[in-house]
């Protein structure tokens, strides 16, 4: 799979404490999204609302507290063509002194054709994710734009 992103952060808290932020539906929205529905066991639902009405959906793969959790993700809105389960996020939590080193890898789709087909989903949602990440309101939901409206909008340029 294509590695889309890899990063790490050191957190001055125990792995048990940090792990909870990936599996507790009350805790996930404290750093990711605004609401969540989580069933933290292999095959269980991993679902969170990025902004109002837009749901990122996948399922848990590995759930090994407190050191490893992974889940798939995609967009619930079918017109975005990035179906749930089309990418994978893998998180490792390693004890480091009195804290935790968190490593996160986001893997893409298995081949570049799939990545290209799904890029329309990413291209529409990533700018919104970027804004949400910065604490900004990303504006109206682009998923509500029908293909006709999209065509009209583009041809009006």
């Amino acid at each position: 799979m294509t590695n889309l992103h890899h990063s790490e952060v050191y957190i001055a808290a125990s792995p048990d404490h940090v792990f909870r932020f990936f599996v507790d539906p009350e805790w996930l929205p404290r750093w990711l999204g605004v609401a969540a529905e989580l069933d933290p066991r292999p095959g269980g639902v991993f679902r969170f609302e990025v902004t109002e009405g837009e749901w990122c959906v996948g399922e848990y793969l590995d759930v090994d507290p407190p050191h490893r959790v992974s889940f798939t993700w995609g967009w619930e809105n079918k017109t975005m063509n990035l179906s749930p389960g089309s990418s994978v996020v893998e998180v490792d939590l390693v004890t480091d002194g009195g804290g935790t080193r968190v490593t996160l890898v986001h893997r893409g789709l298995p081949d570049t054709d799939s990545l290209a087909l799904h890029a329309d989903g990413w291209s529409r949602y990533l700018p919104r994710l970027e804004q949400v990440a910065r604490g900004q309101d990303p504006g109206p939901n682009p998923a509500e734009e029908t293909p006709d409206r999209a065509r009209n909008r583009l041809e009006a340029r």
């Binding site: 957190i11 940090v18 805790w27 087909l117 890029a119 291209s123 990440a133």
Partner: protein, 81 residues
């Protein structure tokens, strides 16, 4: 489709075939990709020629990078507070 149109202009029919999509479905996807700035389109008569912006994949990666970097900082703040 993005990869195919990286090496040169392609027609919508060509890209539909590559993507395994019907023409209408491909046109819909292409419209979104153009709208997002990942592809450009040049109409010529009844044909529309699509080309991928060279930075398209880099742009997708950059936006993901920004997203996750910010989210991990938010996680750190929430976990340490």
């Amino acid at each position: 489709m993005l990869e195919r149109a990286l090496t040169g202009e392609r027609s919508a029919s060509d890209l539909a075939a590559v993507g395994g999509l019907s023409r209408p479905a491909a046109s819909q996807h292409l419209a979104v990709l153009v709208g997002a700035g990942l592809m450009t389109v040049r109409p010529q008569g009844r044909q529309r020629w699509y080309r991928t912006e060279p930075t398209a994949f880099d742009e997708i990666r950059r936006r993901l990078d920004v997203f996750w970097t910010d989210r991990l900082q938010a996680l750190k703040q929430a976990a340490e507070s």
